[in-house]
């Protein structure tokens, strides 16, 4: 007796609400269910083609929007990026590029035509060299801490600036307690941070449903779950709680498909890890607590800062929009394929000299 739904059911209520400016949550990392894991050797210089697509779909027309992007790889001694391209649809009415306070290439854009969908796609070709890291040869962590308090040059100063709280990372006594066992007396800082990285890897479960961009660090610590961004923040918080400089690195990780399956385009995710200041000689060393390793040629750095908030890939403020839906697709394709790997991932761990992974007293 009641007729079926007319196809234009929503037409009657689809009128926009009073548009208010809304800050878009920045890109979530990562959206995959599994931790971005790698199984490729990272010890050879590799050239990549990276495609990173961010798409917002809105429940209602967005009339004007402003965005800040961190999508172009920053200058880095081990990394060269040629001719990065950013495609934005609808086309921005104004755009500006500059380097932010931390030296990361940053873009600003204004979109002024009403739209229901926004696509931002970056395409990059990056060549990454593997680092040479000798964790055992780094100075004792206490020494690094002491030096940080009396900076003598710009590198020291940049490091000293990374000791303090930031919006998303507050160094609490709880974090200090968690970090302590890794920082035994006179232990080389590299070895101590590697140990901390390994403990985070073992103690915490990767769970894409457990946290969001706004989950506080204390909650991550309590529930022992999170995603790479949380683990990076955790490592940073632990180091800062001890008075050691640490920074957040956002980027991409090369992943390999399961044995016998083709590479899936767009199945990768953006990744995040942290870097620890290991004294003037060793400089900053990158650690990935999600994968229990130091970063190698499988890691492409985009930007670094105090935490995620400094370097989120895409953020914005929209006028209108009602609700929105976010999709992110990342594709990291090695262009110069290497011969089949003859080392296993486990062996890579042995960058850490055996003496340094001895059980913590």
């Amino acid at each position: 007796m009641l007729s079926p739904a007319p196809p234009d059911t929503v037409a009657a209520i689809a009128d926009p609400a009073l548009p208010v400016a809304v800050a878009l949550p920045a890109t979530a990392t990562p959206l995959s269910v599994d931790a971005p894991a790698l199984s490729a050797p990272g010890n050879r210089t590799t050239r990549y083609q990276v495609r990173h697509l961010t798409r917002y779909r809105y429940g209602d027309r967005v009339s004007v929007s402003h965005h800040i992007l961190h999508l172009v790889p920053r200058p880095h001694p081990r990394q060269v990026c040629d001719d990065p391209q950013i495609r934005i649809v609808p086309a921005p009415a104004a755009r500006a590029d500059w380097c932010d306070y931390f030296g990361n290439p940053t873009s600003y854009c204004e979109i002024r035509e009403p739209h229901l969908c926004l696509e931002i796609e970056s395409t990059l070709q990056v060549t990454v060299q593997p680092p040479t890291i000798d964790l055992a040869a780094t100075p004792a962590w206490e020494l690094v801490r002491a030096q940080t308090q009396v900076p003598v040059d710009d590198d020291d100063l940049a490091a000293a600036a990374m000791v303090f709280d930031s919006l998303l990372v507050r160094a609490t006594p709880d974090l200090c307690d968690y970090a302590r066992p890794s920082f035994t007396t006179d232990r080389p800082i590299g070895a101590a941070v590697m140990d901390l990285t390994r403990r985070i890897f073992r103690d915490f479960r990767f769970d894409a449903t457990a946290t969001s961009v706004s989950t506080p660090l204390a909650e991550v610590l309590n529930h022992r779950r999170g995603v790479c961004q949380d683990f990076a923040h955790l490592g940073i918080g632990c180091l800062r709680a001890l008075g050691l400089p640490a920074r957040y690195v956002s980027g991409y990780l090369r992943t390999l498909p399961p044995q016998g399956r083709p590479r899936l385009i767009g199945a990768d995710a953006s990744h995040a890890w942290f870097a620890a200041w290991c004294g003037p000689a060793a400089g900053w060393i990158d650690f990935d607590p999600t994968n229990d390793r130091t970063a190698d040629a499988n890691y492409i750095s985009i930007a670094w800062g105090r935490d995620y908030d400094d370097v989120s890939p895409v953020r914005g403020v929209i006028l209108g929009g009602a609700w929105h839906e976010l999709t992110v697709a990342v594709d990291v394709e090695p262009l110069d394929e290497l011969p089949p790997p003859d080392e296993t991932a486990d062996e890579i761990r042995d960058e850490v000299p055996a003496a340094d992974v001895a059980p913590v007293p």
């Binding site: 009657a12 400016a21 009339s63 402003h66 306070y101 204004e110 002024r112 303090f164 953020r315």
Partner: protein, 844 residues
């Protein structure tokens, strides 16, 4: 929007309490320790005459009357009655003799110069940190250091355009700096208003005391604002306020008028092509200078605090591009942090080659080992405060801590030493206050103001004196006569001796003597009024559907009821008022009853009445100052009626009464709009919203009830249509008969004498659209103006009402209504884009 945000803008009064009043012998401003009147008070007291309660009471009443008349108010956060408290002003001014002021002035100018220079270094080369003269923590641990502003040098290297210092006089008679206000100091406008009132109430003392004038200071501020514009030719200057809920909103409006600049909220501005524009109904107007009353972090949700709804997205980018100057420069709040204070004497020697002239209250920054050790040992005699103003947090009085709390505090300081400072407790001087019919000494803090000019800083000869009404600890109450004081800086006696005494001219200028700024209606206001109209009309239509359904549910036995429920449920599901999955209600009345209650009260549902009334309320909050009190009260009443009642008050009859009441209150709203608003552009947009929504709702009702389906002659549907469109009475007056299709449709669609008929609504739309301003377009494209495009859509809709057989034939009706379901939302979009959000708009 523009909700009160307590974390923004430290309270003008609350912080007086944090200075830790107590201890030490007290210095009184009026009398010496021996009980005799200080020399500079003598002519004042002489001119004042006898301080008899009756005479003073009369003067006080006169002061209150002037304040009321000028609408001087002060809002208190978190207080439901807090909106627009009368401004507390004491009758007796604070007097400062000329020679004393000269010394203070020189110290203030030096301090302003120093802090501005430090800001230039922190946001530029950072040599102070590089050279180790100040610890890195002072910069990097302070949330007030805005990295996104680093490297942006403001016009002329001026970071502090208007700067304030809080002073207190210690028992030794010297003035000490308690704190600096470097981002957007408040109170200068209140000081000016205090002067306007007191100079009228105490004309003789004001004349005889030869008081220095405040107005030249504001002239200088105005000149500075014009001078710092990146674009020199007739710059547009605006004062950016957080909105009417802010504590000192009165002052924002007052200063804007006094300085002759436009008062705007964040929603009035937009960034286009990396430059700031003011959105007006006639288009985008470039903005060159922003005098802001928002704290640093709230100014740009894109690059600063993302959760700020008060700022302007892209403002930092415009600053970076150098197209706009913000006063004070974004990021200058860092100089309010207590952490910097202990370093100022050293920095003054190094940077200016001089000794710091005005001493600061003693502060220990716990980031240094020796100072931390001192602080933890002497906790009981100190006040512990956050080192960085952006951290927030209350001062802690060490003396008041229990043993355990003290240990916990020491632990917190050890863990994050650089986050804490300790400050010695200070003895504040007292000044006479007229209270309880007599002069009583009350502690005071003096806020003084400086402005950057082409020749360096100048100080305002005066200030805002803030008082406690209690003699003991500084708890400031504004319910009584205390609160604030006018501050008189006296002309020098030396001059007096040489030149014949020239009485100062009459009272100082008040705002009403200044020509008000003519400005277009801001887009934000038109936007809010437009949506207020739309939501009100939408709620009205919803209430009628819900009431029609509910009454039939209650009275299920009346003949014809069951047949009438069918088109009603169909409509309600079609328009999203009821969920689509709802069972056939004739079988399951209790499910329908439940769904009706949800549709009424569950504001989480997309199209519930409660949700729409919330949106109505939100739209009206943005324009509250433009709505009459009655109108506002009606909206509050609507909000109350849309809140879910307790389970015991959900009987059928109670619900029906509630729905009747809602219909009545919504009708009262229409009436008040018509009688209490002037027919300016604001009202026009409100009415546009109403008519547009009314037309949309009518089209939905006609389509949703199924009347467009071929051959539908159902009498029940026609009855429902008459009821929903509030036209039953009109119909009966004319026809005295049961509902006939052609007659009902004529009444609803084409009868120009029925104000609710579609033809009437469209005619009103056409009239409004014709009257809208049209922003200039390139020659030859005038027809492309959004108002003309919208008008075209309305005209073709009116044309389609002349379709033959419209009133008889289902398909003909559908052919008219279906295009309307598309073109009416399109008209709305055209208006939104052209007049409110200014999408596509090319900056002039």
């Amino acid at each position: 929007m523009a909700a009160a945000d307590p974390s923004s803008q430290p309270s003008l009064f609350g912080d007086v309490d944090s200075f830790g009043y107590g201890g030490g012998a007290i210095y009184d401003e009026m009398v010496t320790g021996h009980g005799s009147l200080r020399p500079h008070w003598q002519s004042f007291m002489r001119a004042l005459g006898p301080t008899e309660p009756e005479l003073m009471g009369e003067r006080w009443e006169e002061a209150r009357r002037l304040l009321r008349q000028n609408g001087v108010t002060y809002n208190i956060y978190g207080d439901p009655q807090g909106m627009e408290r009368p401004w507390p002003l004491d009758l007796v001014p604070l007097l400062i003799p000329s020679h004393e002021w000269k010394a203070i002035e020189a110290g203030l100018i030096q301090r302003a110069t120093l802090l501005n220079m430090i800001l230039g270094d922190l946001y530029g080369p950072q040599t102070l940190v590089r050279s180790g003269r100040v610890p890195a923590a002072l910069l990097h641990a302070d949330p007030g250091f805005l990295r996104s502003l680093h490297g942006t040098r403001p016009t002329g290297g001026i970071y502090l355009h208007l700067y304030a210092v809080d002073l207190a006089r210690a028992s030794d008679g010297r003035w000490w700096v308690l704190g600096d206000r470097t981002q957007s100091p408040s109170g200068a406008g209140y000081a000016l208003e205090n002067r306007a009132v007191i100079s009228r109430v105490l004309p003789e003392p004001f004349r005889d005391c030869r008081v220095q004038r405040l107005s030249p200071f504001f002239v200088a501020v105005r000149e500075t604002l014009a001078r710092i514009a990146p674009r020199r030719d007739q710059p547009r200057i605006v004062l950016l306020t957080p909105g009417p809920y802010n504590e000192t909103y009165f002052e924002h409006a007052y200063l804007a008028r006094h300085l002759g600049i436009t008062l705007v909220e964040g929603g009035d501005l937009t960034v286009r092509d990396r430059a700031v524009y003011l959105k007006t109904l006639s288009g985008l107007e470039p903005v060159d200078v922003i005098l802001r009353r928002l704290d640093d972090n709230y100014c740009d949700p894109l690059e600063l605090r993302a959760d700020s709804s008060l700022g302007v997205a892209g403002l930092v980018q415009a600053v970076r591009a150098g197209t706009v100057t913000v006063a004070n420069a974004l990021g200058s709040g860092i100089m309010e942090s207590a952490s910097f204070k202990p370093f100022l004497p050293m920095l003054c020697r190094e940077m200016l080659g001089e000794e710091l002239k005005l001493p600061g209250v003693k502060i220990w920054w716990c980031g240094s080992d020796a100072e931390r050790a001192y602080v933890t040992e002497h906790l009981a005699s100190l006040v512990i405060k956050p080192a960085f103003v952006a951290l927030g947090g209350e001062p802690i009085f060490g003396a008041e801590l229990a043993y355990d709390d003290k240990a916990a505090l020491v632990q917190r300081i050890r863990h994050r030493p650089f986050d804490f400072v300790a400050q010695e407790r200070v003895a504040l001087s007292t000044a006479p206050c007229w209270q309880d019919d007599k002069m009583q000494p009350r502690p005071l803090v003096l806020r003084v103001y400086l402005a950057a000019t082409a020749d360096g800083y100048i100080a305002m000869p005066g200030g805002l004196t803030r008082m406690s009404t209690a003699p003991g600890r500084l708890v400031v109450s504004m319910q009584r006569g205390g609160g604030s004081k006018d501050t008189w800086i006296l002309e020098s006696r030396a001059t007096e001796g040489v030149v014949a005494v020239q009485p100062s001219p009459g009272p100082e200028t008040r705002t009403s003597d200044v020509t008000p700024v003519r400005g277009d209606l801001p887009s934000r206001v038109a936007d809010s009024l437009f949506w207020l109209g739309r939501y009100a009309e939408r709620a009205d239509s919803q209430v009628r559907v819900l009431r029609a359904l509910h009454s039939r549910l209650v009275d299920g036995t009346r003949p014809g009821v069951q047949r009438e429920i069918v088109p009603l449920v169909r409509l309600a599901r079609w328009t999203g008022i009821l969920p689509w999955q709802l069972d056939d209600p004739t079988d399951n009345p209790s499910a329908l009853r439940q769904a009706l209650q949800a549709a009424l009260f569950d504001s989480s549902l997309a199209n519930s009445l409660g949700g729409n009334i919330q949106r109505l309320r939100r739209a009206s909050a943005g324009v509250r100052d433009r709505l009459s009190l009655d109108l506002w009260r009606t909206i509050t009443q609507l909000e109350r009626l849309s809140e879910a009642p307790g389970p015991k008050k959900r009987s059928d009859s109670a619900m029906l009464m509630r729905l009747d009441e809602l219909v009545t209150v919504l009708a009262a709203l229409v009436g008040l709009e018509q009688v209490s608003m002037t027919r300016g552009p604001g009202w026009r947009f409100l009415d546009l919203g109403r008519r547009l929504e009314g037309a949309s709702q009518l089209v939905s009702i006609l389509r949703g009830t199924g009347i467009t389906q071929a051959g539908s002659r159902d009498e029940a549907t026609l009855e429902v249509l008459l009821e929903l469109s509030d036209s039953t009475m009109a119909y009966r007056e004319r026809y005295f008969a049961t509902a006939q299709r052609a007659a009902v449709l004529d009444l609803l669609l084409t009868d120009d004498s029925n104000p609710r008929a579609l033809s009437s609504l469209l005619a009103a739309l056409a009239e409004h659209l014709t009257a809208l301003p049209r922003p200039p377009l390139p020659p030859g494209q005038e027809a492309e103006s959004p108002a003309n495009l919208a008008l075209g859509l309305v005209e073709s809709a009116r044309q389609s009402l002349r379709r033959p057989a419209l009133l008889q034939d289902g398909p003909a009706l559908a052919a008219t209504l279906e295009p309307l379901a598309v073109s009416l939302p399109e008209i709305s979009n055209l208006l939104v884009n052209a007049y409110f959000s200014h999408a596509f708009a090319r900056p002039a």
